[in-house]
Amino acid sequence: MRKKVLVPLLLIMILISCGIFYWYYLAPPATFPDQEEIKAILSGPNNRVGIAEIQDTIFLDDKHVYIPFITKEEDHGISFWEWKKHEWQLSSFSTGSMPQIWKMDSDDPSSYYIIWNFHPENNLEYLTFFLIKERGFSVTEGKHHYDPGIQMDYRAEAGKKSYGYTSIPSEWQNYMAAENKLMEERKPNGLFADFFPPAQYYFGWQATSADGSTEYPSYPNLNGFGSGGSSTEHLRFLNDNDIFIR
């Protein structure tokens, strides 16, 4: 008698959990909310961004959406939306001039996007993005290790629109994939081994305006703010002093 109840019960439990798994992780994304709903979420009590205009809705793939916007103070901002747990969620947003990198899948550099939105008054001609690692060396127990300095750059035209995005060049991807793999292997596994993580690469940016200046594009001079998840990262602004120029 007990067995007769137990087996169907177990089957139902398995079916329900499969259903939940499908619903939250596998089901195709629903239609993206319209601009009014987006506005409402961004200006809502949690985020408090006074939105004047939603500039565009850009699908980077079918589960990741980039929305540039303008605030009532004429500040230009960016926001990232993600289809997660059967819901379109705001995963990160910020205002102010800093470009950001969005790592949709942190293990896969080909899913990384650099995203920006500058006020048109800055008259930008093009942006230059950098992948940088400082030169370094170490000698431990007689073992020498030299880390070559890395500086790779990539230029993106600013275009007519204030906002834009670009994926990571394939040469960066090649380098990052090799470097990540090496870091993974260098992690010793053991209780008694000290491990100081070696220096990592980082991303930087520069903006060049129509008159050739590479000053920080500061118009309008407002303080940016935002809230971000772990999958986004600000790029470091670089002066001409910070980089090697031929």
């Binding site: 400082e134 030169r135 370094g136 060396f137 170490s138 000698v139 073992k143 020498h144 290790h145 030299y146 070559p148 300095g149 890395i150 500086q151 790779m152 750059d153 040469e171 090649n174 380098y175 090799a178 470097e179 793999k181 090496l182 993974e184 292997e185 260098r186 010793p188 596994n189 053991g190 209780l191 008694f192 081994a193 002093n241 910070d242 980089i243 090697f244 120029i245 031929r246």
Partner: protein, 234 residues
């Protein structure tokens, strides 16, 4: 894939299987087979210390934690008869730690014999798809000269890595950190190490195109050739 390691580990598991079978055939009251498999696996569980050995860590098992746990479970069951049945398998599990220790002691020696650590061909066996990526702007655009690399393969020699010297050399003229030229401004990408070595190296190329700096997870090596294996790029 590290082929020698895979083969040796299979042999080690084979040895454990043979020993378990020998115990089983000699036993009068037979235990349940799926339970004895679990007992061996739990018996493996031990407190161990890690010791450095030939660029890797080896595990020396000290306390048989798994055996103690199994003793706790089985000693009171059936007035000790269960423990009599499973005791030998629990200790076999602990003993297996030393079989695997032997494997990790032998493995680097075999690996060295098949894939000599001081030969470039170990790290660079397939350069057909090789591509030069410029990783620092202090150098000119260059392409890989495959023929030059292939011809010189046997004559490329290992030399010591002078990490400290290379690091400070670039600053000798008193220039700023960011303005210094890089000694290794190219990456050689998309090549493969010898099949079965399990090595996944990262390779940098020296500015003059004659030196290769190879990093693996464990160490770094420097190789030097007579002639350059870079040619003018677009």
């Amino acid at each position: 894939m590290n082929a020698p390691e895979v083969v040796l580990n299979l042999l080690a598991w084979g040895a454990v299987f043979i020993l378990a079978r020998r115990i089983y055939t000699k036993q009068e009251s037979k235990p349940i087979i799926w339970k004895l498999v679990i007992v061996i696996l739990v018996g493996l569980f031990s407190f161990s210390i890690n010791l450095p050995y030939m660029d890797q860590q080896i595990k020396l098992a000290i306390l048989p934690l798994g055996v103690w746990i199994l003793y706790g479970i089985y000693s009171r069951k059936n007035e000790g008869i269960s423990w009599d049945q499973y005791r030998k398998y629990a200790w076999l599990g602990f003993f297996a730690n030393f079989i695997f220790l032997a494997v990790s002691l032998i493995n680097p020696l075999i690996h060295c014999a098949i894939f000599p650590g001081n030969e470039i061909s170990t790290y660079l066996s397939n350069s057909n798809k090789g591509k030069i990526i410029q990783t620092h702007p202090s150098a000119d655009h260059k392409k890989l000269d495959r023929d030059s690399l292939l011809i010189q393969m046997d004559s490329i020699k290992e030399e010591p890595v002078f990490s400290e010297k290379w690091y400070y050399e670039t600053f000798e003229s008193g220039i700023e950190r960011s303005k210094a030229e890089e000694r290794f401004p190219y990456q050689l990408a998309r090549t493969k190490a010898k099949w079965g070595s399990g090595i996944d190296p990262m390779i940098f190329v020296e500015q003059d195109g004659k030196g290769l700096l190879i990093s693996t997870g464990q160490k770094q090596l420097y190789f030097r050739a007579e002639k350059t294996f870079l040619k003018k790029g677009e």
